[in-house]
């Protein structure tokens, strides 16, 4: 299993905790997914509201490791402050760093991302940057201290799958020893399987499971796909070819013409 900052993960499938129809469905989806890591966030709360406490109780009952995010942050300062608050709330140095640069695509701001990552790494955070498949950006993130990268498959919440296979293959090939997980844009288990077949270490999903008609069943579907894809990667798939080649031996065929 891959190591994320000296922690060996228990599953290559990670799940978000947002958008489920109910806490019960969320818990069932986690149970059937086998996910060992859950992404969470921090949000404003009014005095006496206690929604955060109830959610935290639910997450603790899941028995998973949490990965807080800085979702929705558009500036370095906002992301850094959010990360600092998340570290205190969740008592973990892990932070999924999002610095959004474009409203319609939710594409990361590469300049802000590197700067925020640099500050947070210097402050002792273990940063999981939400990034693109850009190899130069990846190199910069590693140079400021990131030891895990989270390239997108497609824009958040789109379910489009792996829209730039060439870019993702290149990223995987350029950084063979860096844990890489596909974060965002996956909609179907087949897309997760493809990511795993390409050699990515893990996938992180939220909308694809939470917004499925049956989130728990979809969570299990993704879990099986991730396992199948990883097995296929480890098994060294055959190379595709243009010409047909009979799989059944030609020798010994009955002559019936």
């Amino acid at each position: 299993m891959p190591m994320f900052y000296d922690v060996e993960v228990t599953s290559r499938l990670m799940l978000g905790t947002a958008q489920y129809p109910s806490p019960r469905v969320l818990a069932e989806a986690f149970r059937r997914s086998g996910a060992g890591i859950a992404t969470v966030s921090v949000r404003r709360e009014a005095g006496g509201e206690r929604a955060g406490a109830a959610f935290w109780d639910l997450v603790r009952d899941l028995g998973v490791r949490v990965l807080p995010n800085t979702a929705g942050c558009h500036s370095v300062r906002e992301a850094v402050t959010t990360a600092q608050m998340a570290r205190e709330l969740f008592d973990t140095p892990w932070i999924k760093l999002e610095v959004i640069g474009h409203a319609d695509t939710l594409q990361p701001d590469p300049f802000g991302l590197v700067e925020a990552a640099r500050i947070l790494c210097e402050e002792g955070f273990e940063v999981f940057p939400y990034t693109t498949e850009d190899v130069v950006l990846a190199d910069r993130l590693l140079s400021v201290g990131c030891r895990v990268l989270m390239p997108w498959g497609a824009p958040i919440g789109t379910g489009l799958g792996l829209v730039n296979r060439y870019g993702l293959r290149t990223l995987r090939a350029q950084f063979p020893d860096v844990p890489l997980m596909i974060d965002a844009g996956l909609g179907r288990p087949s897309q997760a399987a493809e990511a795993m077949e390409m050699g990515f270490d893990a996938v992180l999903l939220n909308t694809a499971v939470a917004k499925a008609g049956d989130p728990a069943a979809m969570a299990e579907g993704f879990a099986r796909a991730v396992e199948a894809g990883r097995l296929a990667f480890e098994a060294d798939p055959m190379e595709p070819r243009d010409m047909a080649a009979p799989s059944t031996p030609v020798l010994g065929r009955a002559f019936l013409a």
């Binding site: 978000g16 905790t17 947002a18 958008q19 489920y20 992404t39 969470v40 966030s41 921090v42 949000r43 404003r44 709360e45 009014a46 005095g47 006496g48 206690r50 929604a51 955060g52 406490a53 959610f55 935290w56 997450v59 807080p68 995010n69 979702a71 300062r77 906002e78 402050t81 600092q84 608050m85 998340a86 205190e88 709330l89 969740f90 958040i156 939220n206 909308t207």
Partner: protein, 65 residues
């Protein structure tokens, strides 16, 4: 004095951060705080004094992707 709490203008009487949090009903809840966009760790709240116009953010754990 009037401060801004989570984006809403709010009248408070306490001046220190722990007092303001108590006054607003957060009690001993699991919250993290920032004043004027700067993180204030729980360990530093007792020495954090608020003034008129300050912007207080109070956040808790929430669902995320």
């Amino acid at each position: 004095m009037k401060i801004t709490v989570n984006g809403t203008a709010t009248e408070v009487t306490a001046k220190d951060l722990p007092g303001v949090l108590r006054e607003l009903g957060y009690g001993d809840g699991k919250v993290a705080t920032a004043v004027n966009e700067r993180f204030v760790p729980a360990s530093a709240r007792s020495s954090a004094v608020l003034g008129p116009g300050d912007r207080l953010e109070v956040v808790t754990p929430r669902q995320g992707g």
